[in-house]
Every structure is written in structure tokens, then in C-alpha cells.
Symmetry: C2
Amino acid sequence: MATQAQEHLLAWLRDAHAMEEQAETMLTSQIGRLKHYPDLRRKLEEHLSETKRQAELVNDCIMRLGGDPSTVKDTMGKMVAFGQGLSGLFVDDEVIKGSLASYTFEQMEIASYTVLVAAAEACGDTTTAAICARILKEEEAMAKWLAAQMPNLVRAFLQLDEIPGVAAKR
Amino acid sequence: MATQAQEHLLAWLRDAHAMEEQAETMLTSQIGRLKHYPDLRRKLEEHLSETKRQAELVNDCIMRLGGDPSTVKDTMGKMVAFGQGLSGLFVDDEVIKGSLASYTFEQMEIASYTVLVAAAEACGDTTTAAICARILKEEEAMAKWLAAQMPNLVRAFLQLDEIPGVAAKR
């Protein structure tokens, strides 16, 4: 029988799975819109593949602990509301707000996997701890990349925006 | 007459002002609920004072650039939706999700002030750049504190949760 700690671990893994699916949706729509920022677009495409693998890894952890990823409906609803809240911030400077939203979402993933590593260790589940630590490193690398390119992105956006007829926001 | 870059800078300052006001609301409600986590509560109280000062500093920048903070209604609505999305993630592990939400919000602030520093520099507005750089440092320190205490918080929560009659989530 599962302890309360194991039940929390399983619940947090389900949250993480919903989060990765929401990340997939957000990344796909952002990639589809970008035109003038090839480096950012390429990086987001790379991270989309990474995100799909991460969702599978989290799913494996859920199955191994006897859970069922199909029961994520409730969490998923909340995560979609959160994602929509983030996306609702996009206006006429879409590439900037989109990049800000991606960075913010990455950081939420970083905090979530930090929680998962600690919870898995507290449960003595070294396999889940190792998988979550690996995903954590990938999310940290992505957040670091997004933060580092932010000042250049702002300069590129403001310059493009001065050229008549160019939709700098995408 | 303001250039397009200056108009973007002003719009982003208004977003930041709405963001600080939303942070104030989120921090106040989180502080009011916490019972078993005195260190976290104390730090959130400290950051609430810091947040109020930051909102004033941003307001000063808006006024100096000839803007009017009362025109933030639209941004504010979006920011509230975002904050509600984050708050909607709270369930029976409220202190964990609350801490995760605070960390995520801090990171959004970090990205926003990074954008503002770059934009102010691009406009040659060294006063705004310096103020935003100072706020950025404060947000980074808060995010770092929240990240560092996360594993301990998870362990404390899981331990408290084993004690019958203790509402570990607060």
C-alpha cells in the first residue's frame, strides 16, 4: 500500500505530465507563428522534441508507481488555464511576451522537478529521482538559453519595428 | 515626440507596474494562509515590502516618461488572469504549489526587468535602466532563496503530513 508521501509523489508526477503536454501545445503554436527570429525558432523546435521525450519519461514513472496518466483531467484543466493566462499576455510585441512566457513556463518546470527530485528521494525511489534530475538539467539549460538571448531579442525587435512594413512581433 | 522604442518601453513599464500590483495581492493572500512555515512566511513578508517599493519605483519611471499608470486597466486584467491561473494550481499541497507559484512569478518578473533594462538602454534612458537593474537584482535574490529552500520545504511538508490532525498544507 502506498504511503501518503508516495501518493503526493504520484500526484506531482501527474501534474508534471500535464505540464509537459501544455508545454508541447504552447511551443507548437509559438513555433508556427515566428518568422523573423530563426535562432529562437530553431531552439524552440529542439526543445519541443525534448519536451515530448520528457512527457514519455514522466509517463513511465507514473506507470511504474501504479498510476494511470489518463486521470490527469483535473490538473490538465488547471494547467490549460495557466497556459492561457500566460498566452493572454501576448499583444503587439508577441515575440517578446512569447519569449517571456516560455522562460516563465521553463522556470515553473524547474521548480516542479526540484520538488519531484526531493519527493522521490524522501520516498526512497531512486529511479524516479534520477529521471527527474535529468529532466531538471534539460529545463535549466533551456531557461538559461532563453534568459541569455533576451537582451539581444529586445534589441532585434526594437530595430525591426523601425522598418516600415515589417511585422517585428513575429 | 516619443519614438516607437520609447512607446514600447512605456508599455512594458506599465506591464511591470501591473505585475507588481498582482504580486502584492498574491503575496498578501499567501502570507495570510501560512501557519507551519515561519521562515517562508517571514521571507514573503519581507518581499511584500520590497514589492511595494518596486511598484513605486516603476510608477516613478512611468510618470517621468510622461505616462499615466491609471491606464493599466487592460494589462492588469491579463495579469490577474495569469495570477488566478497560478493560484488555481493550489490544491491539498498548498504550501508546495504556493511556493512554486511564487518562484514562477519571481522568474516572470526577472524576465520582464531583463527586457526593461535592454529596452531602456536602447532608448538611452540610463535612469530607467539603472532602476530596473536594481529591481532585477532584488527579484533574482528572492527567486534564489525560494529555489534553495524548495527541497527542505518538500521534506518538511511530507513529514508534517504524516502527523494526524496537522494541516501540513498551510
